[in-house]
């Protein structure tokens, strides 16, 4: 006798698989976009342009400034070619002022002012007890190892930190990584480490930062920006003083008013051209330097995974091969802290679902092209790759400790592997 109910039960099991199949079917894949090369070429011109006050390219605005860090994009992004990282001399100084009963005030101490030296922003404008330095050297605000004694002591509630210029190579691929892939990385890390929460500094468990409109942050040292376009617009406004539809140029911090000028310096099309140029920058490559053998590089690659570097600097992310980053925020310990933001409130994401970023949290920087982007860490305090690894704290402590346990030859192999990650 055919027992029909058996078929019904089996059918129910099959039907149970339909919703997840539909979920996978309609899940967004990589947001691959074709770069318009004519736009990119126009963007390259803008990228290399030395902007002026009342620039002819800004008919509706005031051009460069009033406060700015450099007069062109390429002035900072130049290591390994236009779009690369920058040296210590181009560091951006940021501040956070926390007063009892008041929301934190944060922003940038810009290096230049169109009015000249007398009108520059200085640390004194942040707090009267600080010196009137406009562009402090890193050793003045960070106690670098072996150079004790020259660091400023900051009043309570004042945080001063710097940011090193990041490289923009392969940024189109980073933008294409679907949000759910980044979140999946965070979940996998949490599962692997016994459901350890991301605010635990013991295990490398990161978190994806949720920004405006339910998106995941992918750009910036704090992963505070979701798209390349927003990143470009924020940088134009804050580093060059070029107001645009996405971000307004800052006014000097001593002006007292947080309001910003909204006369447009860069049109949306110009911003898109700049974005297209950044998106057209090729991804970094893996290339053997002269002083590293292939065997050593391969051995170094294995050691890279063995000591735990690959826990956060994951070699592949979604469809992007060789990125060496999980694009997650990780707590890096008390030594690697830095507050501050481009503005108060942050301009690029005014409707941000701000979950609050801890001063010790940093997005895992992609290591592709790392050999051509010295100095290292968020403020460039580590002149060499070895020093950068040693200074990993918090969730990176274990990997740093394992690195130090390696023999000298093994360390050399690991560093040799990192030296194969070159700018295009």
């Amino acid at each position: 006798m055919v027992r029909i109910y058996r078929l019904w039960y089996l059918l129910a099991l099959i039907v149970a698989l339909v919703p997840p199949s539909l979920g996978w079917l309609f899940r967004p894949g990589p947001n691959v976009q074709v770069v318009d090369m004519s736009m990119a070429q126009a963007g390259e011109i803008l990228f290399k342009r030395d902007w002026q006050v009342k620039d002819s390219n800004c008919p509706e605005g005031d051009g460069l400034g009033p406060v700015f860090n450099a007069s062109s994009c390429v002035a900072c992004h130049n290591q390994g070619g236009p779009g690369g990282g920058g040296g210590l001399q181009h560091n951006v100084t940021m501040f956070t002022v926390r007063a009892k009963g008041q929301p934190a005030r944060q922003g940038v101490v810009h290096a230049n002012h169109i009015g000249g030296e007398n009108q520059r922003e200085t640390l004194k404008h942040v707090h009267p007890d600080l010196p009137a330095v406009s562009k402090p050297e890193l050793k003045l605000i960070v106690n670098l190892s072996g150079r004790n004694g020259s660091c400023l002591s900051f009043p309570p509630g004042i945080d001063i930190s710097q940011r090193n210029t990041p490289a923009l190579f392969g940024s189109k691929l980073i933008e294409e990584v679907p949000d759910h892939v980044i979140v999946a990385g965070a979940k996998a890390q949490q599962m692997k480490w016994g459901m350890s929460p991301p605010d635990d500094e013991e295990f490398p468990v990161g978190r994806a930062l949720h920004v405006a409109k339910g998106r995941i942050g992918k750009f910036g040292w704090k992963a505070q920006i979701a798209t390349l376009s927003e990143f470009v617009q924020a940088a134009c406004a804050n580093e060059l003083g070029l107001s645009n539809p996405g971000a307004a140029q800052p006014t000097p911090i001593y002006a007292g008013s947080p309001t910003r000028s909204y006369s447009i310096d860069l049109t949306l099309r110009q911003c898109d051209e700049l974005t297209a140029f950044c998106a057209s920058l090729p991804r970094p490559v893996e290339r053997l330097p002269k002083d590293v053998t292939k065997d050593d590089a391969e051995a170094g690659r294995l050691l890279f995974a063995k000591v735990g570097c690959a826990e956060c600097h994951t070699p592949n992310l979604g469809h992007v091969q060789g990125i060496y980053s999980d694009l997650l925020l990780h707590r890096m310990g008390a030594q690697l802290v830095g507050g501050g933001s481009y503005s108060d409130p942050p301009v690029p994401v005014p409707d941000s679902n701000d979950e609050g970023i801890s001063p010790s949290e940093w997005r895992t920087p992609p290591l592709w092209g790392v050999a051509d982007s010295a100095p290292y860490l968020h403020d460039g305090r580590a002149p060499t790759l070895e020093e950068a690894i040693k200074q990993h704290g918090g969730q990176g402590t274990r990997a740093a400790r394992e690195f130090l346990r390696l023999t000298v030859a093994e360390r050399s192999q690991l560093i040799g592997f990192l030296k194969t990650l070159r700018a295009p």
């Binding site: 027992r3 109910y5 058996r6 039960y9 089996l10 099991l13 149970a16 698989l17 919703p19 997840p20 979920g23 996978w24 899940r27 679907p178 949000d179 759910h180 892939v181 980044i182 979140v183 999946a184 979940k187 996998a188 949490q190 692997k192 480490w193 016994g194 459901m195 350890s196 929460p197 605010d199 635990d200 013991e202 295990f203 949720h210 339910g214 735990g308 274990r398």
Partner: protein, 358 residues
């Protein structure tokens, strides 16, 4: 030793000694067969059942033929052999009864008639339920707090590493085997119609290992597919939305419901082949709509407990005390409801078997 005998259909059967004088079901024809006594010459020995013995249980239209009915009526069933259990410890043993050492049923205690009466069962077994919850809380917290550290820094000394591996295996046995064996015993006892005791092998380690294997076999027979898909979906879905929650809840409920039905199917006839989907479907059909409803509700409840357990484990890393408190509540609640559900389903399975056979 085992007792060898034959059914009227010709099927050769054998049973354990302790099953002497009891009834069993012929796997070929499905009829009730009496298991002969160990000492057939004894005056109170019970002969094996014949088809005529079934006539008192059968409806009139299916009664045995006249010539068979002429067989003398079955004598009154003798009391179960009673052996005083080994006095290993005080209270907990009173709740346990090894299959070899059956004790007489407690007077005035009957099999639960209504579903809500099964709620009393975990209350009656509170020392076992509470003990299990406490042990599992400690083990879960210990594993959550220590295991990642141990894995992160593997010992270089081979002896130490071996010790870690052995400890890990023991912990795994505890984590999987302990709750599995307890719920397994609850289910076995209910399916066999026990009113008071938990039937167990008499050896805790054997019971745990066997139960863990049974649960794993049940899991591998089908639920693993849904669980794996659910895990992959959860990992890949990004931030969970309402739709994702629905998909995961649905997959989780199907996986758990399948696991429960598979376990009951395995317990019912004690054959590994009853884990096949068709046999599981047969059992689900036997338990009917109420059975399906209870299993689905239990699955939903278990999912909520699983989610709370994850929260508790996460909290252990922040504050051990708070994490342990959450874990204790989750395990206590989970043990209570699981015991209730397995008792209820086991009894329904027991009754459905009788209904079909008689």
């Amino acid at each position: 030793m085992s007792i060898k005998f034959a059914c009227s259909c010709g099927k050769r059967l054998k049973a354990r000694d302790e099953m002497a004088t009891r009834l069993t079901i012929c796997p070929r024809c499905g009829s009730l067969v009496g298991i002969p006594s160990l000492n057939p010459r004894a005056p109170d020995a019970v002969p094996a059942y014949t088809p005529s013995d079934r006539s008192p249980f059968l409806p009139p239209d299916k009664a045995a033929p006249a010539q068979v009915a002429a067989v003398p009526p079955r004598p009154a069933r003798p009391p179960r052999p009673f052996v005083e259990p080994r006095k290993v410890s005080a209270y907990i043993v009173r709740l346990l009864s090894t299959r070899a050492e059956r004790r007489p049923p407690i007077k005035e205690r009957h099999l639960e008639e209504f579903w809500y009466q099964c709620l009393q069962y975990p209350v009656r077994a509170w020392p076992l339920c509470g003990g299990l919850a406490v042990i599992m809380t400690l083990v879960t917290a210990l594993v959550a707090a220590l295991l990642p550290r141990v894995l992160a820094e593997p010992a270089e000394d081979p002896w130490t590493r071996g010790g870690v591996v052995v400890s890990w295996v023991v912990l795994q046995l505890l984590i999987i085997g302990l709750p599995c064996s307890f719920f397994d015993l609850v289910l076995i006892s209910a399916v066999q119609g026990e009113t008071q005791y938990l039937l167990w092998s008499g050896n805790p380690l054997v019971t745990m290992a066997l139960s863990a294997l049974r649960w794993l076999a049940g899991f591998a027979s089908g639920p693993v597919l849904f669980a794996a898909i659910a895990l992959a979906y959860w990992l890949d879905c990004g931030d969970m939305g309402v739709g994702d929650g629905f998909v995961l809840g649905e997959l989780g409920m199907v996986a758990i419901a399948y696991q429960v039905f598979a376990l009951i199917s395995l317990t019912d006839r004690r054959r590994l082949r009853d884990l096949n989907p068709l046999a599981v479907a047969d059992l689900a059909y036997r338990l009917g709509g109420p059975g399906l409803m209870v299993v689905l509700l239990a699955a939903a409840l278990l999912l909520v407990h699983g989610w709370a357990l994850l929260l508790g484990v996460e909290q252990v890393h922040r504050s051990a005390l708070e994490g342990c408190a959450i874990l204790a509540v989750v395990w206590l609640s989970g043990t209570f409801w699981s015991t209730f559900v397995f008792r209820l389903l086991g009894i329904w399975c027991h009754r459905s078997k009788r209904l079909i056979l008689v």
